[in-house]
Amino acid sequence: MNLKDMLDMGDYGVYVWSCYGLVLAVLVLNVWLGRRALAEQVLHARRRLKISESSSGESSS
């Protein structure tokens, strides 16, 4: 199968490649969304800890 045959997929190329493109986009998006949600929560947790550490430092001094 050469590159032209691969892209044409026997005149079904638009259908086949749009499906593969869509699923690839879903796969990439899910990884990105998951990592982003985790990074956001890590940031919020660090901020909360910093606030509680600074407020406990003030109360003990």
Binding site: M1, C19, L22, V26, L27, V42
Partner: protein, 245 residues
């Protein structure tokens, strides 16, 4: 075994374990996807009826299987959370929902694109397609219900009930092509009979299905860790864990 189960239900242990396990799921998933895609797009012969359009099954079928599997995992986790009051189980269910919803969308859209050249239509109110659409509504309903409660515990309980009741749709999707006259083709892979699909077409499909499952595991690890951090706001174990990461 119960000791291991009990340990796994501890948020700090689950958080650390998910972080360790993730790369062992993600990279094999990527490798298997590359192998499966190559096998499906290049090595598998064309179908005598559907020609090269059949190659869509190598992304459509794994997406569909995963959408059903994720809902089942979500419902089981919700049930565990309700019955044994394990909060982490609710976190697992919450983490599953967006992933499952995306794969249901992928199933419906790739199915629609597949249907146009094969059936001459983008959509048909066929039992399989309709029940898969209902599955998407169940996922979206679950997420919307969770979001409507400020209190996490109440959100967990309400959404768990929806997830558990909605699981009845999973066998309906699966067996719709057997129970009713359906435009959608019947099952090609069965636990009880030899597959009706040719071997050279089957192996890339099985590899892609395995790859998608491993991929789900990896993405679930990330989502679950985020969900645990969101819930464990003031826990003392966070200090040490965040300092290390």
């Amino acid at each position: 075994m119960w000791l291991w189960f009990h340990k796994l239900s501890s948020p700090p242990y689950a958080y650390r374990t998910a972080g360790l396990v993730r790369p062992w799921l993600f990279w094999p998933a990527i490798a298997l996807m590359a192998i499966g895609a190559f096998g499906g797009l290049v090595l598998a012969p064309e179908d005598y009826q559907q020609k090269d359009a059949f190659r869509i099954i190598y992304v459509h079928v794994p997406s569909a299987s995963l959408s059903l599997m994720i809902y089942t995992v979500m419902a089981v986790a919700a049930a565990v959370g309700v019955i044994w009051r394990i909060k982490l189980a609710h976190a697992v269910a919450a983490a599953c929902a967006p992933i499952g919803a995306w794969f249901t969308v992928a199933t419906l859209v790739t199915g629609s694109i597949y249907g146009k050249p094969m059936w001459g239509t983008w959509w048909e109110w066929d039992p399989r397609l309709t029940s898969e659409l209902i599955l998407l509504f169940l996922y979206l309903g679950y997420m919307a219900l969770r979001a409507s409660f400020d209190d996490t515990q109440r959100a967990d309980r309400a959404s768990a009930i929806l997830a558990i009741v909605g699981v009845v749709n999973v066998p309906i999707v699966k067996y719709s092509v057997v129970w009713w006259n359906s435009l959608h083709q019947g099952p090609s892979i069965s636990k009880l009979a030899a597959p009706s699909i040719e071997g050279s077409m089957l192996w890339p499909l099985l590899i892609m299905m395995l790859a998608f499952v491993l991929y789900f595991g990896a993405v679930l690890c990330d989502r679950l860790r985020g969900e645990i951090l969101r819930r464990e706001r003031n826990a003392s174990w966070l200090t040490e864990s965040l300092a290390r990461s």
